[in-house]
Amino acid sequence: MKRIVSVSLCLLIGVFTVFAGGGSEGTSAVAAQSGPWQPAKDIEYVIPASPGGGSDLWARACANAITANKLSPVTWVPMNRAGGASAVGYNYMLSQKGNDYVLLAGHSGAMVSSYVAGWQHKFEEMVEMLCILAFDDVTLCTLATGPYKDIRSLLKAAQDKPGTLRFGSDQRLNSSQYAYEMLKKYAKADLNYVQYDSSGDAATALLGGHVDVAILNPAECIGQVNAGSFIPVATFATERLGGKFADAPTFAEIGYPQIVLREFRGISGTVGMSDGARQYYAELGKKLLETNEFKQYLSTNNLTPTYMGLGEAQKYATAEMEKIAALFKEVTQK
């Protein structure tokens, strides 16, 4: 008797589990509203990465600032949907087409991957970038005790002895490889690309002297820069960064104006989201930038605030990706 109960209970769980995946909420009919669109239920804020990464911190900082300042009448619930170098999160957005209550923490790195890493869809087929709120600038760092104290000596060494200097970086087919390919194409610097799991691992390798130069966001190297163990030798931004990074020249200053890369972050929505919701979220992004909590987050992580709203953000993102994809195409065709 017990056996039968047990087996049937197991079967029941099995059946429930199978159907749990099949059912989807769909877009619930929103009650007729007067005035501008307002969210009527909690918002799922998808993080296409594991807890602890840059996108995770970003999404949680957004959600905290929104709650603390009551910018939204409903709660933003950060939800990690990691996997496939962000592909799982973006595909989830595709499956939620037209849903006004699902947003995604947008970062340019994943968009680059959607163009060049063999994804089935480009990012703009899966999400719409509703607003861009910050630039996450990229710098090159060398070891203070190493032979290369500035960008010119580093580039000269790479030009003179091609294929000997080691360039520590995160995954290929991402913005970091774009930076590497630009150095190769425009500055004729032939470095050895050494791929680590994350920029943090690349920084560790630089500290141990296993690579000669590493490509890092300011937040990833500020501790070492303050301690004097890393020298930021150049920035890929269009203007010099502030603080401890003020001595690092842009590539335009040393004669390579083509070498520019600015990673950006913002809020993305589903494709086919209603116009009212799109406008609401893009406006909310502007208000978010003005909160003290968010300002604090941006400054501790050395992000540069900016604002691009509805339409403009998507246009900028697509144009950037086209440019990056073109260079990758050139490289792979060789």
Partner: protein, 500 residues
């Protein structure tokens, strides 16, 4: 060193505030729970609690989160021993022998061994961290990709010792592990391999659903297909059995000391955490222990080795974090983000500029470790009741736990179906007596080997001379040779003795 002792003493004085002790207690108890729950581990636990700590004093906040981190290493063994579901990935090796001990009717003994080993391993790690943390972190930095590749290779030469009685099925399991590990984006050029067009497989097979399927779900199938009497209910559990005898303690002590040292060292290595530490120590212990060939059949040494190593690694991982501001594992990487949120600048200056942060933290490790030990021991009589529950109730409960655990890993139904598929598959492996250990070991270690080898070749554009670039490399190469040749020599000597 004496200066460190002075600072530690001062750290103890400041750790004994009401807030800090409560934080340590809360972190420890929460960590034991989170560790015991399959599917969520230290990483998720710290990520969820991190936002709650932003308003706290940074010292109190990190005391809580650090306690949570090492307490999960304790908790993971509870479900591994009692239910054969590792609560967290570092507890996988513990399940191999721990659950066998439960089947033999001595779950209490297994749990006592685990907790005692966790405590000793953790203490060894903490003492080393106190005395020579920064020196150790400096040594860790010397390990670049070629050195790490050779270390993993050395560990993999011992895989033969896990194959079990039937070499062919052992090799089959190893090959399956290697095949599973190749799924997903390759580690060097970013190309997609064997992902069948599924975005969920683009980053490879996730480890937690795989483990839960192999251990938990395959067991559900076994429980409901078992014919005849309910064997588990017949096991008479006596509380007296939880105590180890003096001879057992003497047997365990050298194992715990060895693996505590080894675990600390692995924890300091860049990118390696509790999981790699427990795997590496399990195979090395199996190799050098006198009763190593009995590992996997239910011996207490098999629980002691991984448990002391993973706790030691959790302490060791703090050495590079505090000395250089670089993470030794993914959980400490998350703590690094926390440091910034609390307004501290992780980096080489932390020790000198913020001694009032670092030393109370280290002092709290001693305190937290004792709290964990007490809480765990107190829980043994309670959790042991799970063993006398009849199969009829246990099977659906474990099934439900498996489904929830697989889902929470990535919040995805794909993982649930994958977990069930793997469970069914490994049930058949179990029927055909193919061992699970080599599969998991190959799955964990071979991607690391691939990554480090390809990074090394990246550095030199394919010149293999990088693998003999320094003394560390040569040491490993010599060890690899000794490990491969020694069984032959031992065999020869034995044969010679017989003939003479």
């Amino acid at each position: 060193m004496f200066e460190n002792m002075g600072l530690l003493f001062w750290g103890f004085l400041s750790v004994f505030t009401f807030d800090n002790i409560i934080a340590c207690l809360f972190g420890s108890v929460a960590g034991i729970f989170i560790g015991a729950m399959p599917g969520i581990g230290a990483l998720t636990g710290v990520a969820v609690l991190l936002p709650l700590t932003f308003s706290m004093n940074p010292t109190t906040a990190i005391i809580m989160l650090a306690a949570l981190y090492y307490a999960t290493m304790y908790g993971g063994s509870i479900s591994a021993v009692l239910l054969n579901i590792p609560g967290d990935t570092p507890a996988i090796c513990t399940a191999l022998d721990g659950y066998k001990l439960t089947q033999k009717g001595v779950p209490g003994k297994a749990l006592t061994t685990c907790f005692m080993s966790s405590f000793l391993g953790g203490t060894i790690g903490i003492v080393i961290l106190t005395l020579s943390g920064s020196a150790l972190a400096r040594v860790g930095l010397k390990f670049g990709s070629p050195e790490l590749a050779l270390l993993i290779f050395l560990a993999m030469t011992s895989i033969g010792w896990l194959l079990g009685d039937d070499v062919v099925s052992g090799l089959l399991a190893t090959a399956l592990g290697l095949m599973f590990a190749t799924v997903g984006t390759d580690q060097a050029a970013g190309y997609l391999r064997f992902y069948f067009g599924l975005p969920n497989l683009m980053a490879g097979i996730s480890f937690v659903p795989l483990v839960i399927g192999m251990f938990g779900f395959s067991q559900v199938i076994e429980l409901i297909t078992q014919r005849g009497s309910d064997e588990r209910a017949k096991i008479k559990i006596k509380l007296r059995d939880m105590f180890l005898t003096w001879t057992e303690i003497k047997r365990l002590l050298p194992v715990q000391l060895r693996n505590g040292l080894m675990g600390t060292f692995v924890g300091v290595m860049p990118g390696a955490g509790g999981t790699s530490a427990s795997f590496i120590s399990y195979i090395f212990e199996r190799r050098i222990n006198k009763i190593g060939d009995k590992f996997g059949t239910g011996v207490i040494e098999g629980c002691a080795a991984p448990e002391s190593a993973n706790n030691a690694a959790a302490a060791g991982a703090f050495a590079p974090l505090l000395t250089f501001g670089i993470p030794g594992s993914s959980t400490t990487a998350l703590l690094l983000g926390g440091l910034m949120m609390w307004g501290l600048q992780p980096g080489p200056l932390l020790f000198t500029e913020k001694p009032d942060f670092v030393w109370p933290l280290i002092a709290s490790f001693y305190l937290g470790n004792i709290i964990c030990l007490i809480v765990c021991f107190a829980s043994i009589p309670l959790v042991m009741r799970a063993v006398s529950v009849s199969n009829a109730i246990l099977a659906p409960v474990i099934f439900a736990i498996c489904v929830v655990a697989a889902y929470t890993t990535n919040n995805s139904m794909f993982d649930v179906f994958f977990m069930m598929g793997v469970g069914g598959f490994s049930y058949f492996l179990r029927l055909s007596k193919v061992p699970a250990a080599p599969l998991l070991l190959a799955f964990v270690l071979s991607p690391m080997l691939e990554k480090y080898v390809r990074q090394s070749f990246d550095m030199t554009r394919g010149d293999p001379s990088i693998f003999i670039r320094n003394g560390i490399c040569w040491t490993f190469i010599v060890l690899i040779f000794i490990f491969c040749i020694s069984p032959l020599i031992v065999k020869r000597i034995k044969a010679a003795k017989k003939t003479s």
